[in-house]
Symmetry: C2
Subunit: 140 residues, 2 copies
C-alpha cells in the first residue's frame, strides 16, 4: 500500500525479515514521565519477539519490565533518500523462566558490556508495523 505521504507500508512478514538483518535497534519507553530511547543490540525470536540482554539493576529494566514499549530499527540511506523503518510494539518483560533463560544463554543476544547480574528482556510482537521510503524531494 502506498500512502499519500510517499511511504509504502510493509507487512508483518517483511518487517520481521528486515529486523533480522540488523544487529541494533532502539527501545522506546517512558522514564520519569519523559520519552526515552536507548540503542541496544538484540536478537529476534521465531515468534517475532525481540530479546535484549542487560543488567538486572539497570534503569532500563526498572522502566520497562511489565510495560508496553516500542522497539525500532531502521536502515536509511540519506544520500539516496531511501530506506526502511520497522517498529515492534508490545509488552516488555524480564525472562524469569529458567528453561527459557537457559535457551537464551545459548542462542540469545550477548550484552556489549560486561554485566554483573545480567537478564534477558523480551518485547512481545503484538503489533509490528513498518514503512519503506523511496527517495523524492520536497520543500514546504
Amino acid at each position: 500500500m502506498i500512502h499519500s505521504d510517499g511511504f509504502r507500508a510493509l507487512d508483518r512478514q517483511e518487517c520481521l525479515r528486515l529486523l533480522g538483518e540488523v544487529p541494533v535497534g532502539r527501545v522506546v519507553y517512558t522514564r520519569h514521565a519523559l520519552p526515552a530511547v536507548l540503542p541496544v543490540n538484540f536478537t529476534l525470536d521465531p515468534d517475532g519477539s525481540v530479546v535484549l540482554c542487560t543488567s538486572a539493576d539497570s534503569d532500563l529494566v526498572r522502566a520497562v519490565d511489565g510495560v508496553v514499549v516500542a522497539f525500532e530499527a531502521d536502515d536509511v540511506h540519506a544520500g539516496r533518500r531511501s530506506g526502511w523503518s520497522v517498529v515492534v510494539t508490545g509488552r516488555a518483560a524480564v525472562v524469569t523462566d529458567p528453561a527459557e533463560r537457559e535457551r537464551l544463554l545459548r542462542t540469545g543476544p550477548r550484552s556489549w558490556m560486561p554485566l554483573r547480574r545480567g537478564v534477558f528482556v523480551r518485547i512481545g510482537s503484538e503489533m509490528v508495523t513498518g514503512r519503506e521510503l523511496t527517495g523524492a524531494d520536497g520543500r514546504p
Copy 2:
C-alpha cells in the same frame, strides 16, 4: 564520566557536535497512548534545537505540536561494538513566525517527500544527553 555500565556520558557540546554529523534521527513521542518513533532527516539550529520538515496535516504534527518529545540520533558500529547515541528532549512546536519560516525555507531541512502543505517543526533542546560506548563483551 565513565558509568559502571561501561558508557561514557557526553557533555552538551559533544552531543551537539555529534548530532551535526548525521542527517537522520528519530522523533520519539506518544500516539494513541502508545510509544511511537519515526526516523526523519533534520537540521540543527545554532541554539541546539532540532528542526524537521513535514506535512501540516501529518499524524506526526498532530501528535507532537506543543508536546515534550525526544529526538534521538546514533551511530553504532556493531562489528566494533562501539558508537554513540544522543537524545534531545524538549517541547516540539510548529514554526508559525513568518520571518522564522522564511529563514528555514532557505537554511532548514528539506522533506524527502513532496509535501502539499509543508511545515517546519522545532524541538527545543531543553535537555541534551549522550553516551559513548566503547566495545566489550558480556554474558548474563
